[in-house]
């Protein structure tokens, strides 16, 4: 009953809140996002892994690290490189430690980098942690490709990159058996997480059905706004709200029809 209530509650939240995010990508993406949830999670895991490594290289010099030492500054020792439960658990833990490390050493790091950049990167680490935790919760429920042993940690087959490589080569009918069986809400969550990935969101608007509107602007964008991007964001809000408005009118019509039937 609790799970059902949580599902209903979160679905109602999704339907009663609109979110519009505008992102400026650092570089063009070479490939299209995959359709398979397994491969989407593998993409996401890789993005998080690369971000931890990149930021390690970025801040490494502040701690007199370079090369491999800098790469492992935040990423640490890689035990899992796949996209199973334990892989995301490791990413979550490393991201949390990285955020703490950066926050504790802000005085050292701020000699080389502006505080805004450091705070933005701390938020990035926290984002990685939050999304990894969300993915783990989903995987714990839906992932059937696991080996549970008494008195031992459960092993998830997709923590091993070889499982993923084999999965890519399978026929659709064979892959279906190993595929994650997600409901719409879970699928939308992981797709959105993969789409945004580790990109920086410059503008975010959240509109609630109760009329609350929250807009977040990144510090860098607020300091140097780009009118064209602002206008596009505004345009996207208009489209989204109009769709919502139409959807609500469809439901209202249903109510009107019922009342008209009762009256007559």
């Amino acid at each position: 009953m609790n799970k059902l209530e949580e599902l209903i509650g979160s679905t109602i939240y999704d339907l009663t809140h609109l979110e519009i995010n505008t992102i400026i990508k650092d570089e063009m993406s070479a490939s299209k996002a995959p359709a398979s949830p397994r491969l989407i999670l593998q993409d996401l895991s890789k993005k998080f892994h690369l971000k931890l490594v990149d930021l390690g290289n970025f801040y490494g010099k502040c701690f007199n690290f370079s090369g491999t030492e800098a790469e492992t500054l935040f990423r640490g020792e890689k035990k899992y490189e796949g996209s199973g439960y334990n892989s995301f658990k490791e990413l979550s833990k490393k991201a949390e430690q990285a955020a703490k490390m950066l926050a504790d050493n802000i005085a050292i790091v701020s000699k080389d980098f502006p505080e805004d950049t450091i705070k933005a990167d701390i938020k990035m680490f926290l984002r990685i942690k939050t999304i990894s935790d969300d993915v783990r919760r989903i995987l714990k429920i839906v992932d059937t490709q696991k080996d549970e042993q008494p008195d031992k940690e459960t092993t998830y087959r997709f923590d091993d990159t070889r499982t993923i490589d084999n999965f890519r080569a399978l026929r659709a009918s064979e892959a279906k058996e190993q595929e994650l069986n997600l409901d719409l809400r879970q699928l939308l969550l992981i797709k959105k997480a993969n789409d945004i990935g580790t990109e920086k969101v410059v503008l975010q608007t959240i509109i609630g059905i109760d009329g609350d509107v929250t807009t977040r602007i990144s510090q860098a964008f607020a300091d140097k706004p780009i009118t064209y991007i602002n206008d596009m964001h505004h345009e996207a809000i208009g489209i989204s709200v109009k769709f919502w408005d139409s959807l609500v009118n469809v439901v209202v019509k249903l109510g009107e029809n019922i009342l008209r039937s009762i009256k007559s």
Partner: protein, 176 residues
């Protein structure tokens, strides 16, 4: 749906709209959402949306060069074809959103027809319920037990605020 002449159905326009709706739903089934791209010379704008209406807007340089936010602005200003591509992408995006409404509308029409039929064939007791004219055994004994039981069972979902409303309902039925 917009038609060229009000009151007249243009078969070609109608089939174009239906095809567009079907294509939109196929895209939703395949990818979980809808997307449109405006491909400029320097910048590419990707509009992505899910069925709940959430939108992701990506600005992506088409040339793989390292850049800062200032460069993005310069790339946009220098892009001659972006505006035209953007307008076309927005029109397509709006059409796809419009197409998404077809299924909810169909569901509402179906429910309306079914409910109208049910109400028509059960109008007697519905009117009695609305007017409070019900079997005394139901209002005096069953309802006072049923409503609190439902509240307690669904307390977490609906909250205890509904208790006052339900007691008002019980008093109304008990008085009548």
């Amino acid at each position: 749906m917009n038609f060229s002449k009000p009151g007249r159905i243009n078969i070609r326009e109608f089939s174009a709209v239906v095809n567009s709706c079907i294509a939109t739903y196929m895209e939703v089934i395949r990818t979980g959402g809808i997307q449109c791209t405006a491909q400029g010379d320097n910048i590419s704008i990707l509009l992505k949306a899910n069925v709940c209406g959430d939108i992701l807007l990506f600005f992506e340089p088409t040339k793989n060069t390292a850049h800062s936010q200032i460069d993005v602005n310069e790339l946009i200003l220098a892009d001659k074809s972006l505006e035209q591509q953007k307008e076309a992408a927005l029109i397509s995006f709006r059409q796809k959103f419009h197409g998404l409404l077809l299924l909810p509308q169909l569901i509402v029409w179906t429910i309306s027809i079914v409910l109208s039929g049910l109400i028509y064939f059960n109008s007697g007791w519905i009117h009695a319920l609305v007017q409070g004219k019900l079997n005394p055994i139901f209002t005096q004994y069953i309802l006072p037990i049923l409503i609190p039981a439902l509240i307690i069972y669904f307390r977490k979902a609906v909250g205890f605020g509904v208790i006052s409303l339900s007691f008002r309902l019980i008093r109304h039925f008990a008085k009548s």
